[in-house]
Subunit: 185 residues, 2 copies
Amino acid sequence: MPRNQEPTNANSGTETSGNNVPGTEPTPPPNDQLPNVELTFLLGMAFQLLLGEFTGRVAEAGYPDLRPVHGMAFQVLRGHGATSSELAERLGVTKQAAGQIVDDLEKRGYVRRQPHPAGGRRKLVVLTDAAHQHLAVAGRILHDVEAEAARGTDQQDLAPLRTELAHLIRALHPNAPLPPLRPVW
Amino acid sequence: MPRNQEPTNANSGTETSGNNVPGTEPTPPPNDQLPNVELTFLLGMAFQLLLGEFTGRVAEAGYPDLRPVHGMAFQVLRGHGATSSELAERLGVTKQAAGQIVDDLEKRGYVRRQPHPAGGRRKLVVLTDAAHQHLAVAGRILHDVEAEAARGTDQQDLAPLRTELAHLIRALHPNAPLPPLRPVW
DNA sequence: ACAGGTGAGTCAAGCTGCTTTACTTGCCCC
DNA sequence: GGGGCAAGTAAAGCAGCTTGACTCACCTGT
């Protein structure tokens, strides 16, 4: 999967700051623009940094061609499985898109389509052992990444952050079920 | 821009719970799954809910075909402008993609390409009045959305959330400049 | 002065992952 | 037993990015 003309990484130089001349800035952090950035973008940056680190490590762990959306699908299907339409709803995409994702995962041995117990035209999509194995690995990696991030922070616990986020989400999405986490913006 | 087969919205039913059998759950909120959701996904959900509300209102305000990436570009270009390569770097995409975005915005009258003062083959991309006008509108809308979200939360101030996020981002992206906010995951 | 190198910009083609349109099929129900 | 509904699927379209290959302006060294 070579990327010859890599999207510029905004992180090329190793120069840590630029104005870190000793004695010019008393105590507060250097030229930090973050406090001026809107909450929405802070959320986006944190999300993408975390997710990027996660998917990078998952790829290294032997799953180079499993995108985040596949992991989301696994989480939805874990347990009793689901139909592709239910999957579509949880993923926030059309049922055709969900069907394509299921096709893909089926071809690669991560899911199986079974006759649905409730009958009808429905088919129950369930995870194979390979998928459960992946879920275990990915879960461990995700918790590692989050734990490392927490350690890198001053506060030793990200629990308050979590509860504040939960409140924010409930305020924006009052109806009970989890909001979908869509594959694009 | 009709969406005949709308991506299912994960919010169809109004049924609040499903397992709200009286007497099974003592005092805490109903079947709230959020506490079990990983931090990374909480961030993603909050981000997408906020951004979705924002872009919806921006569209209603007369900018139906300006995507989030365009707003990001405007923010980068605001002030002294930038070259497309610099824009590419801040957006985390290839310079060709940045060039296409600039083409598009130029065609629609939001930016202009000027000869770059530093000469060379460089061109300075600067915002037109239309873009500055949009920035004013979008900025107001974004702050409205965030303020409403804050009001919907118990805590009357999202400042602590902001600082925790800033710390988290710095932990994940130690080098000074802002991390790019890429248009996809 | 001129060969080589470098970096910005751009043209053209390709591809991925989603949507749109349109259809088939099983079941329920009066 | 036909009408309606919901699940699934097939095929085409398309937006928005990447890859590849090139041009052009400037700088450098010898």
